[in-house]
Symmetry: C2
Subunit: 74 residues, 2 copies
DNA sequence: ACTATATGTCAAAGAAACCTTACATTAGAG
DNA sequence: CTCTAATGTAAGGTTTCTTTGACATATAGT
């Protein structure tokens, strides 16, 4: 049962869609470190709610287009 | 400059709208402690992204109807 | 070959979120 | 008034997120 149950994200594809924005630039715009972007993008942990909102804002999409909560059931 | 810049939420009104659900019951459903619900509801800190998704799910509304990111502007 | 850019790993430390326990206050029911 | 349910406060401890800094790898350009 219970695996980590973390939110998944589409940051990587959104970055490429956004003129191949680099991790460093995204980090810059969101005002976190590059390490943090890497970790989030790889799903090693979930971002804070604030950070999630800021990332969505950078890509100009709603939050739930970047982050999805897996249906827990199963 | 930089005030806390935290996300605001509508948990309290959503609780009352949802047949006056208590903090204890919400905590139960989201599987956190009552203290945590109190702190979030009062805006003392923001929830994790997972918790934000779960709360929205309990109320059957999209996440951004529970939590809003203040326009940083200025 | 050398340099720069982009991505990635690791470790240690700090900050923020969450838990546990205990107690205080208020309002309503009996 | 007494009892209970709902909300709130506070302290101390654990977990998770974020930062800092140092280094590794791969690719593209000169």
């Amino acid at each position: 049962m219970g695996r980590p149950m973390r939110v998944i994200n589409k940051i990587r594809s959104l970055r490429f869609a956004a003129d191949e924005m680099t991790q460093a630039e995204l980090a810059d715009r969101v005002k976190v470190t590059r390490q943090t972007i890497i970790a989030i993008e790889q799903g090693r942990y979930s971002p804070s709610l604030e950070m999630a909102f800021q990332i969505a804002k950078v890509f100009r999409v709603p939050l739930d287009e970047v982050f999805q909560y897996p249906d827990e059931d199963a």
